[in-house]
Symmetry: C4
Subunit: 387 residues, 4 copies
């Protein structure tokens, strides 16, 4: 049974105010600092870095600052119920763990530790195709916990179908298709350090354990890792996808499908027209297009345009409880949390992820209550003021 | 008789320009620095800290910067009279000492020193329910000085009534009900240091000296402090209040009542409709909802909506004389000063509080005169320009 | 004959590009730094400091940044003539030396050095009533150079008349009446250092050499400086002036009168209605009202309202040639330069003032030419763009 | 044959992600830092410096930040063709090397190294009149590569005609006439160091190798460099040009002519009316008029006004691939890259220039693809959002 955090009785809050210091900071804006202290520069910058000059990553944060919460008084919000259901997945709070690949570079237990922490709190994990742990192993780590699967879409249909089939059999219920990363962006932090973990065979657990992918190779990945890596990279980069390719996914995935990476209202409408079940408004945390618009900037108009037809998730820049409240008030059904939990993983594995998630949930819960809201359904743009 | 400061003949001004250095800075924006030098990190950050990422505390200050004073010339403002009357309390300037709890963590004389300094200058003190000094002792320290009482509203009606009765008997004339703090917010500065003074029995003078509260305990607070503390905390957190609960206060308080923590114009209207006498537009100095709107941002529309029905006070972000002028011009009858006087108390007790108050009054007085105003009643939005 | 700078053939420009390093920086934004290196903290902060939190001083600079020059091409601006005439005073460029008192605290030659440097370049000096050098000595230092006289208006009519008479006899042609400083503001930089040079008898040359003022004293200033100082301060602070007092000045001054310190369009209109000849839009460089509007913010509407009736000068924040161009394009006939030349004086006396003035003139001249303008009369708001 | 970069298969990208560290940073915003480490202060600041307080240089960068890219998804942009043709010059991407004079101060191979790097990638070089290498030598270094010629317009018609004739014979196809630098601006970074390379005979290769210019001298430049330098400077500064002078250029240049330095829409219209073939919207990288409007601010209206009649180039502030995309979306046909390649030249000569160009091209190419564009012709203002 997942820990109850649907009130301010969260453990870190009670411990902190009760006299027990937390393992690391409860200030979400200082987690990057904590991670920098425990990681080597290469993996640290791989996680913390962004595309180009970092303009988009900065814009993501600045966009939150332009919206302000207007708290309401005497609403009797002592008891909150933050639970929601997103694309059929019930969750105790509208927060999912964003797909983040190759977590083994920050902690040996990698995605399994993340999955255990998330499951313990009842939050869904979205497993990345670039996971360093296999689909099945992460499913086991989740136990009864909800899991979604994120797809980097290989251009070999049979490999794709095989991976999707495994995910479904392993209990992943929703498919999240990342559209914005069909090739790696210009990331100076990594280029300057000549660091790309995939080329060392890291983050390859999904294809390397896939029988159809393995059948495409002359030698097993264990025997010739470089060739296997390059084969996989060639499958998932530069794939010539357009909107006509979506029926293939519908055919091979028996459940809700979310398109992740939408930044334009016309693309959101097109996703709805194409019968998709949801979208994630996201710029990949500023990791792909330097100078791209802040995701929060475009959320309101996208939510207004398609929010009644499909479920709109939000990703990119979430750090604090106030951020969650703002994204929801502007039309998101739920948010995806990315780098912060990876910083927790880096610091102390499963326990670190739990610390970060609990902190965010307590912060969000308190922010909801103190702003006068008992349920996420009560949040509308009227909760905010643009300044 | 209160020191005369209704002109620029303020002591610190005369001493400073006369060649006597002040004990610490007269620059209101540097008082935090002074306090950081004399306090341990725990109490310092308890006072200086804010909710979450500190966004609201920063927004409070930034909001003042967007309004500019347009000084007028040749208005013959040599002689000023800054006095006013707020909810029946005459005061030589429209400044009150905001309720700040547990002042013993910064100075042993705590609220009594504060009260003496305020009374000496004729300014009303608003005593916090979380005071480290009892209602009666602070009243004695005030002497003839005006005092108001701030309520953290216990959910035990008899305890509440007992406390209110004591306050009235001790000469507190106005009741300030804080609405925005029915539970402690997410404050990383304190959580990271595992510091909450109340759990050590500090800031408990009001309930611990209350006979009805004591009657609720199995053991006297002196014998079992932790249990008494938890009992009190359970009374004042998460109390299920809404607008229908206000008549209880009216019944048990024979005098003006102010609702503190209003940030939305609809809540302000509701307070007026409910027969309240005043409101304090406040976000608790950014200590409760991270990402909340700056209080000054919402002051103009709230004052315009209800200023003719109830008295509108302002709290959150006041540091300089210009800030006081701006808040008044935007519709406040008076302002509450918070952290700055606590920094003064931390530095040198009663004398430090006096230094901070005198500095603010001299700064405000000079700003009034040099801007062309002789009386606070002359201030209107026309005194300002938004930029 | 004044040095010719009505073209880019300015000496510092030619020397610098010709291989001779200047005595100190030609970057107007770094002069404060140069002065900080040669002055004791007390005089440095007396000059560099501002009222309160420094908000107005910062706002003055920020206001310039919001206006941008739109250079025009192929206008044949090789030969420029920057000369103008302001209130009957011809000058080779629309720049005057703002009245700055008590210059002896930064250099022993004080206002005389300043006057020599200004006269050498043909620029008018505006002598401060708070000068450390007498009216007559500064007049001698000016030689043929134009000089104006700034008045801190004593409330003893005969003393006032005596001072004005001396100024006229000494060849000062325009009277600049400072309205915004009838009492010293709240200046923490000075209060914290308990530094007010006047109380040490500095900056008293004008009254101490005045026979009528001396007749008011029991003892000569040489014998009892403190009493003489206090007498003078009591004459010039808190004087109960309003608009009805202006005829006195007109009666005792046979020449143009400028009101300095105007920030509101209604006060500008009133000055024109009162028959004044000019105004200086100014907030005293941010030294009086903390939080006051940036002078450049209000210049356009003031110039539009009264620019056809009286001459509008600008003061507060001028540092670079672009600043001069912007102020002129927004309606000023000329600008007053303040702190920068005092920094030059602090660094190396007359030569330092000359360096700063030459640098500003060369910068302004080049900015004019490279923007496509040959004469200041060509400047209109169309030269700029607000961003 | 020029290296193919019309896809993400750029060498630095492949090497970096493949495990080979680049010689210096791939972060375009850190190149200045790299150059500062290898250059003496004088040449470094000559390149990095700007006019006056640097306000324009900062404004140029800030202007890019106000426009955001809105990436589109599923557009099948795997294969891009970034090639374009500007004024008859085909180029693999819409990027030219801006004219930068006196490159010998940062590297002994100077403009020849730059030309070789540009030619190797197929990008046109715009040779500066202030080159430290002769017109003919740079042409040889270009080989088959496209080259344009930038003119600082001498006021001796025969010298001008001689230089233009040489440029045409040496294969320079387009003439770029710089309008904004008929005299050197006020550049404190250089003035403070008394550094102007031209006075040492540097950057004089074009006139010193010109027979007509040499015929104007009493002694050959080799025998009396100072006199030759001054003669040349007097020819190119303060030249009394206006719009009526343009037919001379048309008469002596058989090919497209571009006016560089346009910042006002009326000047752009006039250029079109005068029969010019193109303009470069530019403020010379903030090196001429301190406080001038950011070039990107005026690009949209200029492109809208004349983009259908003449070709509009953009210069000033380009650093990243996103910058290129933004300028093109706002109406530019191509952009000029300035300081960044000079920083590369400073670091490691031809190889350094190649590194910088390849990085920019890869960054631009990836930004195009990931934003959903295959061809530069697809870019319109709809690709952006102002924030």
């Amino acid at each position: 049974m997942a820990e109850r955090f649907g009130s301010y009785q969260n453990e870190i809050y009670l411990q902190g105010y009760g006299g027990t210091k937390p393992a690391f900071s409860t200030d979400a804006t200082r987690l990057e600092e904590s991670a920098a202290q425990v990681l080597e520069p290469e993996p640290f910058f791989y996680v913390a870095g962004a595309a180009g000059s970092g303009a988009t990553a900065r814009a993501n944060r600045a966009a939150f600052d332009r919206w302000k919460i207007v708290p309401r008084m005497l609403t009797d919000a002592t008891e909150r119920d933050l639970s929601t259901t997103v694309l059929g997945t019930p969750m105790p709070a509208p927060v999912l763990l964003a797909p983040v690949g190759v977590q083994s570079i920050v902690h040996p237990e990698a995605e399994a530790a993340t999955a255990r922490a998330a499951a313990g709190l009842g939050l869904p994990t979205v497993l990345s195709t670039a996971s360093s742990t296999s689909i099945e192993d992460v499913a086991r780590a989740c136990g009864d916990g909800a899991r979604w699967f994120q797809l980097y879409w290989p251009n070999d249909p049979e490999v794709c179908a095989s991976i999707l089939g495994r995910a479904q059999r392993a209990g992943y219920s929703v498919l999240v298709v990342t559209l914005d990363t069909w090739t790696l962006a210009w990331r100076p932090a990594d280029l300057d350090r000549a660091y790309l973990p995939f080329l060392h065979g890291l983050g390859m657990a999904v294809p390397f354990t896939d029988p159809v992918f393995r059948s495409r190779l002359d030698k097993a990945p264990e025997d010739d890792t470089p060739s296997a890596v390059l084969r996989w990279i060639s499958m998932v980069t530069g794939t010539d996808r357009d909107w006509t390719a979506l029926p293939f996914l519908r055919e091979h995935w028996d459940g809700p499908i979310v398109l992740k990476g939408i930044q334009h209202v016309d693309d959101a409408r097109r996703a709805a027209d194409a019968g998709m079940d949801g979208i994630a408004v996201s710029n990949h945390g500023g990791r792909q297009v330097d100078g791209a618009v802040a995701s929060l900037e475009v959320l309101p108009e996208i939510a207004a345009a398609v929010g009644d037809r499909i479920e709109v998730l939000f990703d990119s820049g979430i750090r604090t409880g106030a951020d969650v409240l703002k994204a929801l008030a502007l039309g998101a059904r739920a948010v995806l949390l990315g780098r912060p939990y990876v910083y927790g993983l880096a610091h102390s594995g499963e326990e670190g992820v739990r610390h970060v998630l609990r902190s965010l949930l307590a912060d969000f819960d308190l922010t909801m209550g103190l702003s006068g809201y008992r349920k996420v359904a009560e949040l509308t743009p009227a909760a905010l003021r643009r300044s």
